[in-house]
Symmetry: C2
Subunit: 381 residues, 2 copies
């Protein structure tokens, strides 16, 4: 078991009707005026927008709205939101939506307290302070609700980069599984793939770890599969949506990677290049990259892959385990090949060049040059 | 899955040599002078005392010592420590030891900022502020390193009562598994029983929960058993000590109980009475109470007990699962009957009367009167 530091101060409020508490939570942090950040209107259709406004009003919290956050959020929009946050002197940022809205909220909160471009945080500048961030989640996927990560795409440079800072951990995240009842089947599937991806990166790439951590990772994967299988038949099954939401949060709250040595995020690295260039949903991109990467990587860690096959799918060989996962991704409605999303041979060069830039930034340069990334991508065709 | 709130801001620093960081951690919280609280001298023998003093000196943190904390810490000693903390105007409390020292440290830190008796916090007065608490752990058992719980015995009233407050969560807990190498076989066993007890209370008493939470609890129990089996043969096996230490922390950091409905801590209730009156080690008392309570309770939750038998010991019936746990407690060196620790028939009346007071305080009065507590205790003879 490797040395580690674990520190996750985010308060999680989980369950039915909990989103009505947002106003009192903001009060408890002394927030007078928030930037209310959201996407492209689904919260208006669902009634969540009205309920949020009412909760803010009742708690006497003033707000400024900023909408239009897109899936795979972009830096130009975040810059505009920073400008609005500064202009109105808000003292907090409230994200109402999925991981994309929350990722942008973290950018805005950090950007609002500095004079330089918010993109600098994605290229190496450390975050030393931030407005407090709060969230009401409408999607079980990214785990952004309980970590300090943010991923944003720079449309000009076509880079999808990330930062991580404890200053960006939400102070409070409200997780009401009922708010995910209306998530369509595709995004439900992408969310499941995303949550699984967050634990299998460390699960497979570790050079050493601990059995307790293996079982924790396996529990999360099994919980996601178990819940998703129920949700695809009954999208309003509360317990399945709840387990899915909690599993997605646990997947990237820092716990699963404790004690693991030498872990990397190669699937995310390649997927970020994919979605930076082609704007496909992150979970869809992962469903394509992961089985190909597993096939490419399995020989390097045979024990890990046998264990995965046995513990998750009850099959014997690494190969059968990979097949089982790929089939399951496909069954729940996620694409598992590049061609399914209209990406072909001719595009691989651009993707691998883009990903290779990240390999250097993420300390994976020794293992992944353009050559290796291409090998993975060819297996994904 | 029941609604829940999870908020655990304690920072965990885990691994080899990590205790040397204590000074810099205190610096990062702006601490100038701490009360250094410890037990009855084992940290002097092991060299940890000298290493701690050196780390404080190097970081320029002043300190006042207060030693003599006993296993099953007592309120008279905590009161004296509060007096010393106030007299020397310390701005933090550093616990170096096991759960007993840390429980008393939390009492001292809360007591140092009020004028009333610190015992009031154990009988209903809410904690609204506390000096910051820090810990270097030398035992894997109580989970006190990552929660706001404190248990103390009042020698005058012979009550062993507890409080819980987020203000009492350690700011930083340093967990170096090497510091547990010298824990003797008995206390190693008691620690293992204690850690297991923290998850099985909720595991068995819940009226509803979630599969992800069941698997989390089972993972912790299996991890403790797996590690302890190695440690009893090789007390200096780092990975086993590490997994044990992390499992004990996870057992009572709030995660396992998330989403569980209607849980109680009946075994702790009865054990607290036992150790308040007879001053036996908490883990020893639990090893006696748990198998008896399980036997008494199994019919009320047959599904939970079958699941436990199958998942933990691979046996079929509830009865065999209970036997397997009792045998395992015995095998690792914990007592499993009252007579083994010199408690007999004639003592049961006093224990059940004492526990019944707690049943009322802990909201278990409907289920546990003296009659039911006696039934459990008779099964433990």
């Amino acid at each position: 078991m490797n040395n580690f530091t674990f520190h996750n101060p985010t308060k999680i409020i989980f369950g039915r009707d909990t989103h009505h508490q947002v106003g009192t939570e903001l009060n408890s942090f002394g927030i007078k005026k928030v930037l209310l950040l959201y996407g492209t209107g689904s919260i208006k259709k669902s009634g969540l927008y009205d309920q949020t406004i009412r909760a803010l009003d009742e708690a006497g919290v003033d707000f400024v709205e900023f909408d239009g956050v897109v899936s795979n959020p972009v830096i130009s929009h975040a810059r505009e939101a920073v400008r609005v946050a500064k202009e109105h002197k808000v003292d907090g940022v409230l994200s109402v939506g999925g991981g994309s809205v929350l990722d942008e909220a973290k950018a805005v909160a950090a950007g609002a307290v500095v004079e330089h471009d918010v993109w600098d945080f994605y290229t190496g500048t450390q975050i030393e302070a931030s407005l407090p961030v709060f969230s009401i989640m409408t999607l079980a996927a990214s785990g952004s609700e309980m970590n300090g990560n943010s991923v944003i795409t720079n449309e000009t440079t076509q880079h999808k980069f990330s930062f991580n800072s404890i200053h960006s951990n939400p102070k409070v995240s409200i997780l009401n599984p009922e708010l995910t009842f209306s998530v369509d089947p595709s995004y439900t599937a992408y969310g499941s793939v995303d949550a699984i991806s967050h634990v299998i990166e460390g699960y497979f790439t570790q050079s050493s770890g601990a059995a307790i951590q293996d079982r924790l990772a396996e529990n999360i994967i099994i919980s996601v599969i178990e819940s998703t299988n129920i949700i695809i038949n009954d999208p309003k099954d509360y317990d399945a949506r709840a387990q899915m939401m909690w599993a997605a949060t646990m997947a990237l709250n820092g716990l699963p990677k404790n004690g693991l040595e030498d872990i990397g995020f190669p699937n995310h690295m390649i997927e970020h290049a994919l979605s930076a260039l082609f704007n496909i949903a992150h979970g869809a991109g992962l469903a394509i990259v992961i089985p190909a990467w597993m096939q490419w990587y399995a020989d390097k860690k045979p024990d890990r892959f046998s264990r995965f096959a046995k513990e998750i799918f009850g099959v014997e060989t690494a190969e059968d385990g990979i097949k089982a996962l790929k089939n399951w991704f496909s069954k729940i409605g996620a694409p598992v090949t590049l061609s399914e999303v209209g990406i072909y041979d001719k595009d691989i060069l651009a993707i691998s060049a883009n990903a290779a830039v990240m390999a250097e930034m993420w300390g994976l340069g020794d293992e992944y040059s353009e050559k290796e990334i291409k090998e993975v991508l060819y297996l994904a065709l």
